[in-house]
Structure formats: structure tokens, C-alpha cells
Amino acid sequence: MTLLMLILIPLLGAAVIAFSPERQAKWLCLAWSLIALGAAVYAAFTFNWMERTGAFQFSASWTWIESLGIELSLGADSVSMLLILLTALLAPICALASFTAVQERQKLYYSTMLVLFAAMTGVFAARDLIFFYLCFEFTLAPMYVLISQWGSSNRKAAATKFFLYTFTGSIIALAGLVYIAWKWTQIGDGWSFAISDLEIAASQMSMFEQGWVLLALMVGFAVKVPLFPVHTWLPLAHTEAPTAGSVILAGVLLKLGTYAIYRFVLPFTPLAIQEYAPLIAVLAIIGIIYTGLICWVQRDVKKLVAYSSVSHLGFCVLGLMALNTIGAAGSVMYMVNHGLSTGALFLCIGMMYERYHTRSLDEVGGLASRMPVWAFFMVFFTLASVGLPGLNGFVGEFMCLLGTFQSGAVDFPGGTTGPLGPWYAIAAASGMIIAAIYLLYMVGRIVFGPLREPSDHHAHPVLPTDLNLREIGILAPLAVLCLGLGVYPTPVLRSLEAPINRVGVIAGFHDIEAPGSDETAPAHTLVLVPEEAWP
């Protein structure tokens, strides 16, 4: 029920907004998204983060189409829960960030946004393949509307490309998923789309079948991530989308791809992934370096951050392909961290854009002397994005790299099984330098240096020169989370062990049986979980 509530609250909010006066839309959206956030936080408190078997919690299901075995089935492990929390957190932030930026058709805008959040929550909560796919696809329509209606000058083309590109990919992924469901009919009793059933069905597939299923799934999910070379929709969509759209896109939508890889590709194609992981890893590494360098020559700051997302998500995919605990946990951390820091960077850029109506690094610069508070946040989130230890970005990045490094080094005390190896990690780690180059280039131009403002610049009619309290209120919680997750990620990491271990056992990259026998109780625990809940 809890999870259903988390999906229904934003939907209800959207309905309420649709039948309310225009000028109340934004306040209603904020209120409903705060309620949703409150519900998610409540869920997080009742959630057992140290469940040692990786079992799904808050499980519930309702029969939907009985003849095909389709159910509305929900459940969450700590990976899902983290991403649901991230989604719920970004909802009020996106609402607040649109207060002055969106002036037209507010009712449609805010209700579309809430529908989008409901769909994204549904993706992370789904335990039925059809319901997952429905939500997965349904995120496209609201996002299409957001980009095409409230975007910048080239918004129509960007929205269409975004829609058709990702849609084409997902259709192919669906073919793969349906094949597995069909496989279940061969061994089971009629149709079922329950993910837990399909995990069993997948294990019955031959290497040949797994290879094709892997290809189908990866084509769909790689577009969503996006992985090189199917990434070109992203810079365009990001650049044209309204600020909140970019935040949702970077914060959550891209993670649908990596989450789907983690949730489906790894357990559904255990043999094939061992075989083809190096290939996918190579694409991820090319993405890290190639798009990283592209960032360096961007003149449009939003496009720069958009390309940097492609580069960053390369680490995320790489960590998954390491097929070991540290890599996968690092990847999940990376999903959360990237959502926070890159989302915040888009927010900062949006605030700058509202004041100057340009995103060109040639036209604005040196804003630290005009907007010191903004500059503080911009530099802070850039550093989080660069992967500075002590901030959140580092934890995920380091663990993705370490997981890749130890993957396959079976002769070493610190090694694990896996298809990758040190050379992959070393190649990817060069992205550390490139990230420093392009992000400091960005900060060096837009925040530091002599002040440059567009010649026809007028003060914003409503907004002050520097950030107002609303804007600080948007960025401050994100900054606190970035710092908190960077300094004390251990509780989160430890909560990821069991679910990853569960996937690992299915995917065959782990030979540890029972994580319940874990006697390594941490001395200090987060208040989130009572001491007794720890093993």
C-alpha cells in the first residue's frame, strides 16, 4: 500500500490542479509534492534498510489482466527505495524552481510534472514487468509535453527527437522482455510477468537466446542512459528543456536506464552479460572520454553540463558491468549522486538564465562578483560533480572504478570474479582529469574572471541580483545531502549489500550464500535505523 500511495499522491495532486484556478497551480503543486515527499520519508523510516536477504518490502499486488498473468505488483528493496526517495525529493524542488520561470499555462505544466513524478516512482516500485514497462514508457509523454511546450527556441525538434529516439529503443527492449515472459510459459503455468518469475525463466535460456535478449534490452536501456553512441538526443533535449525538465531528466529519467540495466539485464542474462560486459564497458569508457572532451569545447553552459551527464553516466554503467558488489553499489551511489549534483547544476544554470536570458559562456562570466551566493552553490556542486572526496560524487566514482579494477583479479586478496580488469579502470579513471578540465573551465569562465554581462541586460522584474530565499531554499537541501552522502555514505552502502548480493546470486557473479551471517556490525549507525535493526 505504501508504494501505491507514493504513486497515487502525485496523480491525485495532478487531478486537483487540473480542477483548480490557474494562479493556485504552483502552490498546489508544491503542497502535493511536499506531501509526496513526506510520505516517502515516512516510508523510508518504516523501511528496514538492513534487511539482510535483499527481499522486497512493502510488497503488494492486485490482479490486472488475469489471462495474461499481468498484475499491478509493487515492492521495493533499498536500491529502489533510494531512487524513490531521490524522485520524491526532486519533486518539490522542481516545483519551486518553476515559480518564476514558468508563467504560461501553469495548470497544465504543474499537473504534467506531477504525472511524470508518479510515473517515475512507478518504475522504481514495479515488480511486474508490464507495469514497469507502462511506467517506463509513460514517462515519455509528460516529458515530451514539458520540453515541447515550455522549452527554448528549438524545443519542438528536441522534444520529437527525444520522444522518437527513446521510444524506438524501448520498443526493442520490450521485445526482449516479452521473449522472457514467453519463456516462462514454456516452463511455468501460463503467462506471468512477475519479475521474480521471469528471473527463473531467464535462467532457462540458452546462451544464444540470452545474447539476443541482452542485445534487445541493451538497445532500449542504453538509449535511455544514454550510452555512447546513442546519446545524441540528450544534449539537445537538455538544452531545450525548461530548468525543471532538465533537472528531472538528469536527476531521474536517465537513471531509469541504469536502474533497468541493474534490475533486468544483470539477472535476466547472466551468461550473456559475462560475455558481453567488456564490450559494453568499452562503450562506457569511450563515452567517458569522448563526451568529456566534447564538454571542453562547449560554449553553451547547459549543453556542457548535458554532455557531462553522458560522460558521468559512463562511470555508472561501467560499475554495473564490473559484476561485483563494489561496482554495483558504486553505480547505485552514482545514480543518486549524479541526480543530486547534476540536478543542482541545472538548477543553478536555470537561475542564471532567468536573470540573463543567455547560457553562452561568451556572453556572461565572472558572476561571482555579481552573485556571490549563487557562485558559492555553483562552485560547490561543480566540485561534487568533479568527484572531490568528502562530497558525494567521489564515493560513487571511486567505487565504480575500484569495482572495475578488482573485477576479474581472482588471484588477489582484494580481487573478485568478473569480466573486467584494471586496464578498464585505468582508462576510465582518465575521465577524472578530463572532468577537472572541463568543469573548471566552466567555473573559471562563468563564475570567476572579469565580470561580463550581456550588453542589453536588464534587471529581472521580480528576482533580485543574487539568489532570493526561495532559490537558496531549493539549493541548500541538495548541498547538505551532497555533503552528508560524501562524509557518511556507509549506512547507505551497507544497506545496498543485501539487494546487490541477491542480484549477484541470480546473475551468478557471487558465491556467497547467506549475507545474514554478517557479524561486521558497524560501531556507529545512522539515526535513520535503530541500532537493533543492524545485524
Binding site: 521473449y179 572532451l293 573478485t416 577537472a436 558497524p522
Partner: protein
């Protein structure tokens, strides 16, 4: 009870083998020592708060000074409780990055990188001068930065305090990942402080350059850390040292992977300590305010590389060839940087090159197995180089940013500048290595060891030559700026103006700036106040007294030697064979005379060229020599074109690649996508009426397409299975 008993695997490797050779008893230290990083962290937090509240007073400075002094006091406690008796304590803070994973063998392992402190004598030695100097320099900066009281002042002291936190993590961390935390943390503070005058493009570029070049080193360090984890299954020092001790006992061939670790760590050390080939960021870092140059870019942060090698000495000793490389990098860096330093006119940059050069000496010391000499040189250098920088800063502050040695003369005898002049003199004799100064003793230890170690004679000669050059360029500065006829031209940062508004860099590479004479006559240099003078006196006295650490206490062969011998850096083997300095006898004894003479010769040349041979403030006998040697002088002044070569070899190719990639991305990859997207359009020309553009129509099409594909997929599956 040991803190680690509840972590399986922590001592499992030790227990399994029963070997405890080379492993000191680790005791659980008092949580009190967590205050060493915590107090500056609190100060940083408060400075941030002051900034937010818009405090316009010297509050940030006093907060920082108080916190750092507290930190220093706690470090003193650590010295008496832990370092002096030669103990090693581990203080557990909190769990930073912990996760259990399944190792290849199937057993469950725990990745542990905690915020814990490893306190032994090496740690305490470093923290003593880090916190001590930081306190003094913060006091100095309280006056030096007083023109910026307000947001800039808060920002400065925020980064300053944060730097000490990061440095404490680097030095005191009990595992390699916490060292990395501090390592990048000091890099960040360095970035923020070099770019303190953020409106100046040169400062912003210098900050960026420092961060990026450091990141190149950090990449090596990071890979080294991962390789160490792979090998030892832990990142904690005690476990690594225990396993290294086992390896050392067993002897035999080592895997190449373990041999690679020291080289990778060395890459990190090279970046942070500005050695060849990654040294060019440090001179540019002088764009930062001078207290920053003194603390971060001379006394403390740049010695982190030396610390890393000293801390990981057992691993380096496993692969002695890596130490040979350390020695050669150090020796060559010392020489190259010294030759550049000879030809500069900006006194701060001369000091910067001299820092690079002296760091080279320290690396040389590590390479020739005198970790004591290296650590002692770090210690003495911290004092006298901080003093030198702060004197340069006082001059810069008093003469409106003037740093060109051709435009300043006779400062020693101007009214109110006596203390600065004397402190400068003390710093100079230490740097030049005049007999019986601290710098003389510490440099001698390294020089003598180079001649003692077989195979390093060539490096010894290079180092001796460098010592001579050092004496020359040091006194070139002193004779020109502080002695001679009194004369000055103010710099371009006249008070009353906002310092930030000067976008041109001052005195860069000795390019003469034109000032009209009348301008100069209106200007009155203002001599330093009590804060600056107090700090200079303390540092000058400290520089002199540091020499005592060479002699006392006698039973351990000097204070520093006593400290190092109980730490992980102690492993240096002593050379038993009879070495001789070119047939003159034991290098350790002969070196006192040889290096003393060389220092005096260097000073004499400087005197002849720059004091006796000086005609005006701007001209001297050296100019004629510079004419004679032709372009070589200009090449040295242009830093042997290192920057240009790097741009040509790395930066431009990378930039060109970036542009090509971007074009490729737009035209080829996205072009293919568009082509693919367009092809159905021609096919679908006949069904154009359906393309109404309405979303609902597309949605219908989607559903239809979905159904179609499902059917096709199903058919394929059905065919395959039957």
C-alpha cells in the same frame, strides 16, 4: 582491547601467518586527538557563517588563529604522549566508506576506509609544523589581508582553515583513502586560494592549472591505491605494513603488480610536490595571496609528496629501483628549477622556483635512503621558506604589490623595515646553506648520503652544483632588494583602490611596467605592523633554532632522527661500506666543508655581481653577462619553455581532438540518427495525412507499432522454438 577485533580480516593476515615483524603495537588513542582536524573544521564552519551573516570585522582571522592554536596545542599533547615515547596510536573517528563484498575466493571481505587517525612520530612531526606554521601565518594574514575585511576576508580564512583540516586528514589518516581525501582536499583549498583574486584572469588560470596538473598526479595515486587494495586486501597502513613485512621476510620475486605500486604513488607525489615533469603549476600558484604561498605552496602542502613517500617507505624499499627514480627526479628537478630561479626578476617567483628546487633535494634525500635527511629538510625548509615568503609578502604589501627586484633597493635600511630585513637575511642564509644554519645541516645530510650511496655520485655532483646556484640566486634577491642604494617604485595595487579591479598581472616574468615618476613620488611605502613583525621574528628565531634539532638530543642523533626512527619511514638501510668523497674521506664529514665553501662561493658571486657591481636599482654587472651568454639567459627566464612544450604536446592536441569529436558527434553520429529518422518519412509520404502532428495521433501510432512489434517478436520466438 583492540578497536579492530570486531572487524574480521583486519588482523586475519597477521594471525594466520603469526608474523609480526616490523609491526608496531597499535594502541587505541584518545579521541582528544580528533580535535586536531575538528578545531580547524569548526573555524571553517564559523568563517562560512560569518560570510553568510556579512561580518565586516577581523573576527574570521581571530577565530582561525584561535582554532589553529588549539590544534597546535593538541598536537603538542600528541607529541608528548605518543611521538616522544615512540608509540603508534590509532584513533577511530567514524566510518567513512564501508561495504562488504564477496572476494574471488568466496569469503566475505569488508572494504574499510574510515575516518580514523594513525598517529606516530612521523605524523606528529608533520602536524607540529603544519599547525604551528598555520597559526603563525594566520596571524600574519590577519594583517596582510586587512584591506579585504568583509566577504573576501571570510572566504580567505574559510579556505585557510579548511586547508588545515585537509592537511590533517592527509597526514593523520589511517588509510590510503583518507590520505586521498586530504590529498584532494588540500588541492581544492589551493585552488580556492590561488584563485582568491578571482577577477584576475591570470589568477583563475593559475588556479585551474594547479588543480588539473595535480589531478594528473592524483590519477596515478588513485590507481596506486586501488592496486594496493587489490594486493593487500586493505587500505589501512597497519595491515599494509604488516604484509609488506611478511613479503620482506620471505624475499623472493615480487609480482609486477606490487612493484608498480611505488611508481604509481610516486606519480601522485610528483604532482603534489611539483617535481619534474609536473612542476609548472607551482610558480604560477604565486598568483595567490602571499600568506597562502608561504603556508601552502612552500611549507606544508607541497611537502605532501615527501610525506607520501616517507609514509609508504616500506613499499618503496621493496622495490629499490623505484627509489632510484625518486632520487633522479629530485636531483634533476632541483637543478632545473634552480637554473630558472636564477633568471627571474619577480622575487616571489624566485622563491617559488627555489621551493621546487628544495623539494627536489628532499626527493633526492628519500631516493638515497636518508628519510631522516629528507624529513629534516622538510622541517627546516618549512621555517625558513615561510619566513622568506612572508618577508616578500611584507614587501609586496608595503610597496603596493611591487615584486620586481629591479624596482626595489635598499629596503633593509628604510624606516620601519628593519625586522623584515633581518628576517629575510636569516631566511636567506638558511636557504643558501651558510655553515651552522639549519638549512646547512639538513641539506648536508642529503648531499653526504648521495655521495655515500653507490651509483649516485653523479646526482651528488648535480646537487652540489645546485646548492651553489641556490646560494647565488638567494643572495641575488637579498643584495638587490634589501641592500644597496634606497630606491623604490610602487606596484600597481595602490591602496584605496579595490585590489580586484586590476586585471593585469603584476610583474609577470619580470616584464617592466611603465610608471610615471610623479606617481612614485606621491607614494609612501607603509612598513608592516605588529602582527606581521611578530610572526617574522618568531619564524626567524625558529629558523635559527631548528639547527639545534640536528644536534640535540645527542642520544638519538638529533631530534628529527629520533622521531623518524620510530615511524614507518625508518626502514632506510645504512650503508656499511666505506664511502669516500673523491678520496678526501667520509662524505659525512667532508661535506660540511665542501658545501660550506660552495655556499660561500655562491654568495660571493652574488655579492660581486649584484651588490659590488650594482650601478642603479635596475642595473648591475650581471646584465653584461646576460648579454654575453646570448639566448640562454632568455631561455631560462622563459622557464626553458616548459609551458609552451606542454601546450604543444598535450593541451593543443587534446583541444583539437575535442573539436573534432564535437564535429563528429554533431555531423556523423547525430547525422546518422537524423538520416535514420528521416528514412521512414519518404516511405511514409503516401500516408502523410496521418501525420497530423497531434500527440494523440502519435500515441495511436505508438500503440499500433507496439502491437506490431510484439506480434513480430512473438512470431520469431514461435518459429525458433518449433
Amino acid at each position: 582491547m583492540s578497536l579492530w577485533t570486531h572487524i574480521p580480516g583486519a588482523f586475519s593476515t597477521l594471525a594466520a601467518t603469526g608474523v609480526d615483524a616490523g609491526v608496531v603495537d597499535i594502541e587505541m588513542g584518545r579521541p582528544l586527538f580528533l580535535l586536531i582536524p575538528a578545531l580547524p573544521a569548526l573555524a571553517a564552519l564559523l568563517c562560512g557563517l560569518y560570510w553568510a551573516l556579512g561580518v565586516k570585522s577581523k573576527f574570521p582571522a581571530w577565530t582561525t588563529v584561535a582554532a589553529l592554536a588549539g590544534s597546535f596545542a593538541v598536537t603538542l599533547v600528541a607529541y608528548f604522549e605518543i611521538a616522544a615515547p615512540g608509540l603508534t596510536h590509532v584513533v577511530h573517528g567514524f566510518r567513512w566508506i564501508n561495504i562488504a563484498f564477496g572476494a574471488a575466493g568466496g569469503e566475505r571481505m569488508l572494504f574499510v576506509a574510515d575516518f580514523s587517525l594513525y598517529i606516530d612520530s612521523l605524523t606528529v612531526l608533520w602536524m607540529l609544523f603544519v599547525t604551528g606554521l598555520a597559526t603563525l601565518i594566520a596571524l600574519y594574514a590577519s594583517e596582510y589581508m586587512s584591506d579585504d575585511v568583509g566577504p573576501g576576508y571570510c572566504r580567505f580564512f574559510f579556505a585557510f582553515s579548511l586547508f588545515v583540516v585537509a592537511m590533517a586528514c592527509l597526514v593523520m589518516g589511517d588509510n590510503l583513502l583518507m590520505l586521498f581525501l586530504g590529498w584532494e582536499g588540500v588541492g581544492l583549498c589551493s585552488y580556492l586560494l590561488i584563485g582568491y583574486f578571482f577577477k584576475k584572469p591570470s589568477a583563475v588560470n593559475a588556479a585551474k592549472k594547479a588543480f588539473v596538473m595535480n589531478r594528473i598526479g592524483d590519477l596515478g595515486l588513485m590507481i596506486g591505491i586501488m592496486l594496493a587494495f587489490l594486493h593487500f586486501g586493505s587500505l589501512r597502513y597497519e595491515e599494509i605494513f604488516a604484509q609488506v613485512a611478511i613479503l620482506q621476510q620471505d624475499g623472493g620475486d615480487l609480482a609486477w603488480t606490487i612493484k608498480a605500486i611505488p611508481y604509481l604513488l610516486l606519480v601522485g607525489a610528483i604532482g603534489k610536490s611539483a617535481q619534474l615533469p609536473l612542476f609548472t603549476w607551482l610558480p604560477d600558484a604565486m598568483e595567490g595571496p602571499t600568506p597562502v604561498s608561504a603556508l601552502i605552496h612552500a611549507a606544508t602542502m607541497v611537502t605532501a609528496g615527501v610525506y607520501l613517500v616517507a609514509r609508504m617507505y616500506p613499499i618503496f624499499l621493496l622495490t629499490p629501483e623505484s627509489l632510484t627514480l625518486v632520487a633522479w627526479i629530485g636531483g634533476l628537478t632541483a637543478l632545473v628549477a634552480a637554473t630558472i630561479g636564477m633568471a627571474q626578476y619577480d622575487i616571489k617567483r624566485i622563491m617559488a622556483y627555489s621551493t621546487v628546487s628544495q623539494l627536489g633535494f628532499m626527493f633526492l634525500g628519500l631516493g638515497v635512503l636518508t628519510s631522516v635527511g629528507a624529513a629534516f629538510h622538510v622541517f627546516t625548509h618549512a621555517f625558513f621558506k615561510a619566513a622568506l615568503f612572508l618577508c616578500c609578502g611584507a614587501v609586496m604589501h608595503g610597496f603596493a604589490g611591487q615584486l620586481d627586484l629591479r624596482k626595489l633597493s635598499g629596503v633593509q635600511f628604510m624606516k620601519g623595515w628593519g625586522i623584515v630585513g633581518v628576517a629575510m637575511f636569516v631566511g636567506c642564509i638558511n636557504l643558501a646553506g651558510l655553515p651552522f644554519t639549519a638549512g646547512f645541516f639538513s641539506k648536508d645530510m642529503i648531499l653526504a648520503e648521495a655521495f655515500t650511496t653507490p651509483g649516485f655520485t653523479a646526482l651528488g655532483v648535480i646537487a652540489l652544483l645546485t646548492a651553489g646556484i641556490t646560494a647565488y640566486y638567494t643572495f641575488r634577491v637579498y643584495f638587490r632588494v634589501f641592500l644597496g642604494p634606497q630606491h623604490f617604485e610602487p606596484g600597481d595595487e595602490l591602496h584605496g583602490h579595490d585590489e580586484h579591479d586590476h586585471d593585469d598581472s603584476h610583474g609577470d616574468d619580470g616584464e617592466a611596467k611603465t610608471h610615471d615618476d610623479g606617481h612614485a613620488h606621491d607614494f609612501h611605502p607603509h612598513p608592516p605592523g605588529w602582527a606581521i613583525n611578530t610572526v617574522l621574528v618568531v619564524l626567524a628565531v625558529g629558523s635559527i633554532l631548528a639547527a639545534l634539532a640536528y644536534v640535540f638530543p645527542r642520544e638519538t642523533g638529533g631530534w628529527v632522527k629520533g622521531l623518524i626512527s620510530t615511524s614507518s619511514a625508518a626502514g632506510a638501510a645504512h650503508h656499511d661500506h666505506e664511502a669516500s668523497f673523491f678520496g678526501l674521506g667520509d662524505p659525512h664529514k667532508v661535506m660540511y666543508y665542501v658545501s660550506g665553501v660552495i655556499a660561500l662561493v655562491g654568495i660571493a658571486i652574488a655579492w660581486w655581481l649584484h651588490l659590488a657591481g650594482r650601478t642603479t636599482a635596475a642595473t648591475s654587472r650581471a646584465d653584461a653577462i646576460k648579454q654575453k651568454i646570448g639566448p640562454v639567459g632568455r631561455w631560462a627566464e622563459r622557464k626553458w619553455y616548459f609551458d609552451e612544450i606542454y601546450d604543444f604536446l598535450f593541451r593543443y592536441p587534446l583541444l583539437i581532438f575535442s573539436h573534432i569529436f564535437y564535429l563528429f558527434d554533431k555531423l556523423v553520429i547525430d547525422g546518422l540518427v537524423d538520416l535514420f529518422g528521416r528514412s521512414p518519412r519518404s516511405v511514409g509520404a503516401g500516408v502523410r495525412p496521418t501525420q497530423s502532428g497531434g500527440l494523440q495521433n502519435y500515441a495511436m501510432g505508438m500503440a499500433g507499432g507496439l502491437a506490431f512489434i510484439i506480434v513480430v517478436a512473438w512470431l520469431v520466438v514461435w518459429r525458433m522454438s518449433s
